[in-house]
Subunit: 376 residues, 2 copies
Amino acid sequence: MSTDELAAHPWRLDSPLSAVPSAVDAQLKEYLNRSQEEFSHIGPLVGGAITVLRDFIVNGGKRVRPTFAWAGIRAALEGGGGSSPAAGIDQGAILNALSAFEFIQACALIHDDIIDRSDTRRGFPTAHRTFESKHHERGWLGSSEHYGISQAILIGDLAFAWADDLYNGSGLSTTALQRARPAWRAMRTEVIGGQILDIALEANGSEDVADSFAVIKYKTASYTVARPLHIGAALAGANEQTQTMLRNVGQDIGEAFQLRDDQLGVFGDPEVTGKPSGDDLRTGKRTTLINEALQRGDESQVAALREGLGKGEESAETDIERLRDIIYDTGAQAEVEKLIEARTQRAIESLRAGGLGADITAELTQLAEELTHRRF
Amino acid sequence: MSTDELAAHPWRLDSPLSAVPSAVDAQLKEYLNRSQEEFSHIGPLVGGAITVLRDFIVNGGKRVRPTFAWAGIRAALEGGGGSSPAAGIDQGAILNALSAFEFIQACALIHDDIIDRSDTRRGFPTAHRTFESKHHERGWLGSSEHYGISQAILIGDLAFAWADDLYNGSGLSTTALQRARPAWRAMRTEVIGGQILDIALEANGSEDVADSFAVIKYKTASYTVARPLHIGAALAGANEQTQTMLRNVGQDIGEAFQLRDDQLGVFGDPEVTGKPSGDDLRTGKRTTLINEALQRGDESQVAALREGLGKGEESAETDIERLRDIIYDTGAQAEVEKLIEARTQRAIESLRAGGLGADITAELTQLAEELTHRRF
């Protein structure tokens, strides 16, 4: 961060979790500007592509992964067995490491948007559509669509490279980085593996609850919560017991978070979620909720679901209502709600019994509740 | 490597450059098997995808980048100011770091093949085509083509993640890794930047020699030779003077190597190159050679070139002959040959005057000549 920004976001070893997003935002902007300057010699066409990446990263995101990584560091330092400076945790370097998670996320989202053929993300055109439009507006040669995909693959790659540069060059001590290396490796492989699995299951038509749950485990829970907490704790030298506890807590919170997403994708109020009503019903995605319904439903319910799911914009609001009622009637909604509750409660109990300081315990508990009980 | 393989490929600090490919091959196999085992819990569908990556990496490649990185290490240790173990270079860790370059290369090739819509690579189907065929054979849902592209994007990402895991977790000392960090960062950004530039120039129809040369500089020369030499030298603690000399030598060799490729793409004997005759004429790619011809040609030559280039399989062998003659007549072939010679000679003279040991000087000189005077 620049001196001004540092002054606006002084980072301390007890900064609250809620302070992470704005501090990470400032750090990301500074790093992106510096990197764009550093590689400006490759020419303005590449500078323009980096601008697309910068806009993508700067325009939003809740910075969930940096927040959990910071929670892991705080947990280590507040009763989890780590101690600074013995842990080799340098306050100036922490924001670099936290920001690195957002570059991994940028790569994941940019590549996922290509895979899912998505046109918008957070109200803006997706990266491949942005490049596609530029190509089209300039009347360039060849297929605008393929150009968009190609450049978006590449700026996703660039984001992934910079994630590692920011993380390994963060300034955190080697001892700290070394402790966290297995978790850092696992997080990246698990999110990519989870996405490979997700696509393969969509293609093979699986309606197996265990299959959809495996995607939740790796693509969401591990990547979004469990590993960021684990990495933060390992960086700051938490003892084994705390690391294991946080990883399990993170896995529970992450699974509950995604199961809540499944519920909102069917039952969410569009005025609150900002997404079309029954989005998952229109896409026909085999989420855990929908697979539960297919497993629990009687013959006619299953037939009606198979018939009605995945009709996209064709589905009238009354069709959507009907599918929603069927899913509710099978008991799948109640079952998923039970899974969410069990995980949230187990996580909160583990945190309360975890022997961490009162502040971090309260902040993590609140975050767990927000993420799993959210209505949007 | 396993004990058996280590015994078959003992690595010493004076191992010749020619020993790199087989040692790296063995190391790559071992790492891929270990990683597949490590993440087998994500399930067989992901295991299958990792097998595609493994086959891609194991089936060939000349291991050019690991070879130059090793040359950089040897140069540092043989007169370049580095010394082991003061340099923090551990023999067991070196092969990990050298192998990491091949994972970056795997990502670059897998993603480039999507971008270039290539069907084969080294005589095998490209990764996206392999996934596409599997999807098709199994009669899975959705578009086989889009499935192939999606999974290939993801295993490219996985290769990129593992490159960093192998490199940063190689076991090389922090001091060594820290010294090489700017070069490691630059190499990855430059190759992606060079590819972004290449695609943008193809789309905007540039026929500017300077534009095509910028692609050579970043996408090939820096990535393939200059930065690997630079990284190796920095890892092993070479002095500033040696690092700069090797980087310049590498830039010259790399540029000459790609200019030779341009020549072979037009004038190469298909029986020797193994590629169709006049490949670049059929694709119409604006290489430096072709842009030189367009700049030097008179009005009728330029018109004939613009008319005849890029007709793909439509071009008869006589059309190809004619384009080849025009390019020769403009003097572009001779000019590019001069550029190759100047760079090769400058590189060899710098090496001879570089104050490095006789062995590494001779081996690097030989490699430079092989790569720039090759007929295939």
